[in-house]
Point group: C2
Chain length 367, copies 2
């Protein structure tokens, strides 16, 4: 491999950082590339798991011949941390090395750290700069962490599987297997990278799904589930549902209207205020935040999805579209009333991928 341009190095760090998805919460996903003085790649690593090494430290560990660090260049997707814990901060670690420069993608949004890592590095005589470019990609890599920091609430993804005409069920309610196997495998991955799944009692009563990730990468991960069940309809048979059999009791939360919570044989009932024929979703997210849930993937019927959309609380949409036309039946925005075109939720940075015969449209919702 020849010498790398800065953009190539940052792109590699970005792609590397994404490998930690699902394992770093509440930390951000971070990737780091180290180039020697001739801009040859000598290390590439990511933050793999919460409680373990940061991306910079993992990359440094890959370098056996430390003379390669003389005049080396560090590319990291997020500002090196200035926070001292059991180990020295990444900024301090890098400051003591004979490297020439540190280029980072985003400033740390945490006011306790923001700019301080850069200061420590500058004070040690390194060339320090914020990378000029790839802002969308850098923000996307850290989007869960950024949302947690900036708005103090979990990041909300919504997964929908529809036909090309926006239907999630036929007129008679048939809805299983709209998309094919390859798309469903991708859903298993998406479930794994979020802290928790959110669904509605209606989905449980109708389909009795497990709603866990069967992706082997997440086999040992705690997979939390939140059931939105204002009337407590799932409570009496709580231990019998497939979702309860598929996970440990600690990972189950049934959200009910005030007054309906009671001790359960498995899981825990939580009360959240009701608003507009459903939960106050801001209060719900606040409650989940307090439970240290930093990201949720909503996989539910049109009514629940529409309520999140109407509340402006959807951050990322994963829309799987089968190459089919279903005609009359439920749409995924059933119950979403919008008065003018100017009011419509809009999406940005739509990405289209194909999974077998299905499409996946992924996009951020405009804030």
């Amino acid at each position: 491999m020849g010498p790398l341009a800065p953009e190539q190095a940052m792109m590699m760090a970005l792609e590397e950082g994404s490998k930690g998805a699902g394992f770093v919460s509440p930390n951000p996903l971070v990737g780091c590339a180290i180039l020697d003085q001739n801009y040859q790649l000598i290390a590439l690593a990511h933050h793999e798991r919460v409680g373990e090494g940061h991306a910079e430290v993992n990359a440094l560990k890959q370098i056996q011949n430390t003379t390669l660090l003389n005049g080396a260049h560090i590319y990291v997707t997020l500002e090196p941390c200035a926070h001292e814990g059991r180990t020295p901060s990444c900024a301090k670690t890098l400051a003591e090395l004979p490297i020439a420069s540190v280029t980072y993608g985003l400033e740390d949004p945490n006011p306790l750290v923001s700019g301080k890592g850069a200061e420590i590095l500058r004070a040690s005589g390194k060339k320090v700069q914020i990378f000029d470019g790839l802002k969308d990609e850098l923000e996307e890599l850290a989007e869960i962490f950024l949302m947690n920091q900036r708005q103090g609430r979990p990041f909300v993804g919504v997964k929908v599987a529809s036909s090309l005409d926006g239907r999630i069920a036929l007129a008679d309610g048939t809805s299983q297997w709209i998309t094919g196997e390859s798309a469903r495998t991708q859903v298993q991955y998406l479930r794994g990278i979020y802290d928790a799944m959110v669904t509605g009692a209606g989905t449980i009563l109708k389909d009795d799904p497990r709603l866990n990730s069967r992706d082997p990468r997440f086999a040992n991960k705690q997979q939390k589930l939140i059931v939105l069940d204002p009337d407590g309809e799932t409570l009496s048979r709580i231990a019998e549902w497939n979702f309860a059999k598929a996970r440990s009791s600690d990972d189950i939360f049934v959200v009910v209207r005030p007054g309906l919570a009671r001790p359960l044989s498995v899981g825990r009932a939580l009360e959240v205020p009701v608003l507009d024929q459903g939960f106050d979703l801001k209060e719900l997210l606040q409650t989940l935040h307090e439970l240290a849930i930093h990201s949720v993937l909503v996989e539910a019927g049109g009514f629940t999805v529409s309520r999140f959309l109407r509340a402006g609380l959807v951050d990322r949409l994963y829309l799987f579209m089968a190459a089919k036309i279903l005609g009359e039946g439920m749409s995924w925005t059933e119950g979403l009333k919008i008065r003018t075109l100017a009011e419509t939720p809009r999406l940005r940075k739509i990405r289209v991928q194909t999974f077998g015969e299905d499409l996946l449209l992924t996009a951020r919702l405009r804030s």
Copy 2:
């Protein structure tokens, strides 16, 4: 340019052939590439306009130095014609040249010609072969002609502009400008490449559109319009509609239920039998076929689109999707009742393009 592989030559012929779209009806779109004995490109041409030269003849005209034809190789998307008219057939023209080989994409589906062009060429000692590959692309280039030949009816394209949730209007009926300018420019092109537009009386009464192509490439083209108007609601004001002002009287057809046809100040009223609360669409297409209309683009409300889908009479779908969510309102498959997933219209060879912030999904319907 270096020597071309057969696949490259056929790809170039394909792309070249598509340039005739909108001008060759009832002929097929055809492209032709000629390589010299060393497989260097020496000519590339297409059938430009009905009544003018075929692709092979147009390509031969580009070659000034005819010694280049010694041992040359012809790549053409469709079998050279064996039909003698005012001019000799393409097969005979090629047979008399010192070329080495002729490779064609598809056999002519016309039983009067099929295989005969190849026979003439073989009898003259040329190496003749059907190209092995690119079948989907070759069929797509000639899809209108193939449908006309194989099923004796016009090819039916349907254009829809919807939100990501499949809506074509808000709950209050607002529907204009769902997609952006770049997508609308592409619609102007699509209108130009079909022989006629089809719409419903409801669309005329509500929006009074012109439904012609404002793409300058088609400024001099006759742009026919068929209005499906079972109850004759557009007839009394026929000359006042924008569609009537935008085209000549000969290009206007209003289809009404039996008994309602009458002489009009502009355009012509046609009677077609009614079936299932709407026209018998097979009969409609038969009528259009007799009027020498070989392809139609349906741009109409959900009810009309759904009737074409239900009748299995949609060949190609152009689905423009805006990066918006409209929520409750009319879907483009309003009124399409499907009982089981196995019955759903399915699409194949979906292609996704972006036009500004909008997506265009193009696909063939499975027959």
